[in-house]
Symmetry: D2
Subunit: 349 residues, 4 copies
């Protein structure tokens, strides 16, 4: 038995929108419906996404509630602040998957501090693998949901890298995360520091000192895993590559915890996760191995001198970090097998 | 009705071998059998191809005829000079797809001049889309074949960029090709000039002056298309990226030929080709749009001042330029639909 | 005896302006005066050119004739069309070095066709090493000049790669040039295709079919070298690196010309040139070796099968291709030793 | 008054050796003497260092004590373990600057644990700017020294980023450093993971969990600055660029410390340092701005939520991180002005 799910993508000319379409084109149950855009409405998709050959001649339409109506699933790949109003005008039975930030934070005060303006309320948070303090995983909150807030790319990789340690109380709740990202995470924004000439051959930090908006989201996830507030020091770093995030995550070991205990906890937590790939001891993740796939590659060890746990995880920020995660959530919402249309295969070298 | 084709890959720890496996893992009719290697025999595949998660724990075995026996299809991804002897020991009914150079050149004198040693004979040349002077395409020579010589990456992209012009006599048979390639075309060879520190931030030419071994192969293809010998000036250029080739191909226009005639010829030639994507006028190929997909992106124009045709084509050297082309040939050899398990979708940005 | 030359740079926040300042800061006879800009006037230079530490706190002023007055030398690093009016308002005794295109083309019809609008007249063309048909070099026309038109980056590298062959009639005057460039040649323009995410991992052609504005400039130079009109097929290609151009230049050999004759001609032409580095036979240029230096690396050979000369040359587009060439011209204009303040040293790897 | 210092470089075909020569060629007091190598002895330098045009035809000789005798200064750019024996055979009055690790660690037990074998003793540590607990700087220990151990690239950047905070007791002595480096730090070693195809488009961590040999060196420096043992969690990360390191360094704030106190301490410490460039508040370092120059770019802030200091610093690993630091030490050893022949200018974009 097969179903056909008709989907729409709002923001189809951007990077997240393009990646959603790349994945959905090979999803066996999906039919591509409306493709909408803002300023690019009226132009051919092939002009903006030349890699999506089968859709090259599709013309982008304006992003409006009417254009998005009559679809089973609507993906929103829009700048933050644009999702809430649009979603409010979509049928309640439509599955709406928001790749933006509008509905991720549960605490309205957090929203106000980090994004400003009024909070539109939180939606079920779309990180299925996140282990929760009560023994469940976040996926239990996503099955059948009609609204999903897809996580940010940095919180996706950092939360999964640290959550097992927090849930099992292997570390003190004071984490330090330095995550190196490719440039597509910043979208197609025309900003001088994102020009190829500036980016190539250069690495730089930004949002330093706890200023990046993914910080409260990461703290929220780690608190959910550990059942206790977590202090988060997060520094994002821009690297000269289009895709990929490598997060180096450390935390002070709790007393008496050793490498074996740590490894056992990670193995247990992710034993059945199709998209979390705990590497054999001694092999460390590379972002290249995750390129274009929905896998998170993970390794963890103990620094016996500094008495810290060090977990390193890699994802493709556009796939597992955005569009792949979104498709995973769609599958859960629709009752499809969670891996449908997704792969762990990366494109390398 | 489905068939299950059991395949083996010799040279599974190299770049071509890895790409073959990436594609074959998603081929609906294929079951992965033996994975063999030379120096890397005995080690886990995951150590060499960390992006192939589903095969991470497979152990590489020695490349021997025995290891490759009992498979429906054997892919050889070996340095040149290693295929002939191995192939001779494989059952005649086995489909053998050689990604190396051993059986590409039809003229033994060419083989001796460019590679040295005795020629092992030529196999059907695996470039299905190549238009031939007699009105057929090369695919007509590949259906049901038990032996296929997969083209080199440079000849793949350059031949398809120029063949329509030669077959239709729109240009004089004196072509100039400058093709810019990513580094994976050179394989995993440990040579100083292939180190990341040397490659990044740098562009360089090599094999200049007609010294590259793909020159006679390109000449052979263009002669097959045009029905007349073709003078080929070919310069390969190394660029700082892992994958992709962009070939800029020019030739003097025949008298009276204009842009419309050129475009019409290309449209007609490739109208029904699933993997040749002639872009709308004014849009030029980028290698990024072909990354990881089996498509060739093509554009052609006329330089009215210099009276030359200019065709520009892009492929992923590992996919359409090697492993994707190989799978296409396997499909033809087995009587499967030619596109089975292949996609035109690229991974971008 | 030393002189102090007070210089101004108009367009100091752009890439050409930044490179001019980098070189002028180490020029022993120069004192940095006004730094002007358009939209960036009023901001610290350090914000736009963080690599120019000694000037970090200098504030950019508006680009006006008054701001540029009272300097010995004024460098214009502005978009084309902005130099002529400004230069007309500067003292005739001021040396004005224009890095833009306004005064490069000698034929007003060429200007009108390629740039549009009225031609502002041509200035002495700032490519000192260019060999001329009458046995002189272009430097003979630059000594003591008060106005200099700095060449485009592509014409710089391609002209010097081909001029000896044309002057010595070693080739027929029908050249094919494919030049691969880093992205800084396009300046800091905020265009989507120049974003890091688009550029990295990708190679693409543009201005194909003779559409690039450097085409007539190259033809003009080669005609000056050969004493006869030259047909030019020129294709620029964008590569994923910030700096550098590698030009692959070919032309049909004249009858009876062999490799020795070609090499001898190049050696003779450039024997005394401090910035043209003809490599030993068998070694081919890399752009990396020219990074940040004022050298052009050059190699030439003969393709005996295709009967074509192939010359490959590399420069740093911002140094020898723009700012270094400009400083060289300033030296000539002021009667300083031509190499003052310039180096052949590149920064590699 | 000028002196002429005759220098030799052992290991002239490697990256550190090449960078030494690039800097020494523009040093006003230096004359280049012997250039020696191991396996590359007998070949032209131009083959290995094509960017060093003025030395292209110099032939490398074997690295022996005799070849290095009769020079005022000998730079050793050799793998660790090769310096001690060689240095022992050089005249005591010769200044020997060792870019390798042999004489950096003061504690023989550290040497044995991290490098193995017998310790050759420590030399004055060549990081002039390092503030010491007793109020001096490390430069006070370097003036007139005949032997200098040049620091590792990671300890250079990380020590200077954290030392002011430790000396002023602004943080608790438990630091976490994640430093992202270009590939030239690994030298020209022919290892698969350093191939361009592997490196480009990929970021990866290595030496995780306190396993990198620069860890004890960093701990030693920070202890010297703070006057107390320091716990160091250090993770190096490889990024797709040839040069540059960006270190993100954090530590828990001591009670009552705020952003103003932190900034004041850094300003005071580095006010007179020619090569430490503390950026204006709000501007963050990029490695590109340091490329090819001897500057360290630094910014520091306070994460008020996580109660941590965050310092980010960038250097060129080959310049300030190796060869520039070495020249600085030579200047101190010889009694020359410390900045002679060095620049803060970077090459960007």
């Amino acid at each position: 038995m097969r179903m056909t799910v008709r989907i729409a993508v709002a923001g189809a000319s951007g990077y997240a929108g393009g990646e959603l379409l790349r994945l959905l084109l090979t999803h066996p149950e999906v039919e591509i419906g409306a493709l909408t855009a803002g300023g690019n409405a009226g132009s051919r998709l092939g002009q903006h996404q030349p890699h999506l050959v089968p859709l090259a001649d599709r013309v982008l339409t304006e992003t409006t509630p009417a254009a998005l109506a009559d679809h089973d699933v609507v993906f929103l790949a829009l700048p933050h602040g644009h999702s809430a109003e649009l979603a409010a005008q979509l049928d309640e039975r439509t599955v709406v998957i928001d790749c933006g930030a509008d509905h991720r934070l549960t605490n309205p005060a957090d929203w106000q501090r980090w994004y400003g303006g009024e909070h539109s309320g939180s939606w079920p948070y779309g990180l299925p693998e996140l282990p929760l303090a009560d023994g469940r995983t976040q996926r239990d909150l996503l099955r059948g949901s009609r609204r999903v807030a897809v996580p940010g790319c940095y919180p996706t990789v950092s939360s999964l890298a640290l959550a097992p340690a927090l849930r099992e109380h292997l570390v003190r709740p004071e984490v330090v995360v330095v995550a190196v990202s490719g440039t597509s995470g910043a979208g197609k924004s025309l900003k001088p520091h994102l020009l190829g000439s500036e980016v190539m051959g250069s690495v730089s930090a930004y949002g330093v000192g706890g200023a990046h908006r993914h910080t409260p989201e990461l703290a929220q996830n780690l608190a959910a895993a550990g059942g206790t507030p977590v202090s988060v020091s997060f520094t994002p770093v821009l690297a000269p590559m289009p895709r990929g995030i490598l997060a180096t995550c450390t935390a002070p070991l709790a007393d008496g915890v050793d490498a074996d205990a740590v490894r056992a906890a990670y193995q247990k937590t992710y034993a059945d996760e199709p998209f979390v790939h705990l590497l054999p001891a001694g092999q460390w993740p590379t972002t290249a191995a995750t390129l274009g796939g929905n896998a998170l590659h993970l390794q963890v060890t103990v620094d016996a001198d500094a008495r810290r746990l060090v977990a390193v995880a890699a994802i493709d920020n556009l796939t597992k970090g955005t569009a792949g995660g979104a498709v995973q959530c769609m599958n859960l919402a629709l009752g499809l097998p969670e891996s449908t249309g997704l792969t762990t295969l990366g494109v390398a070298p």
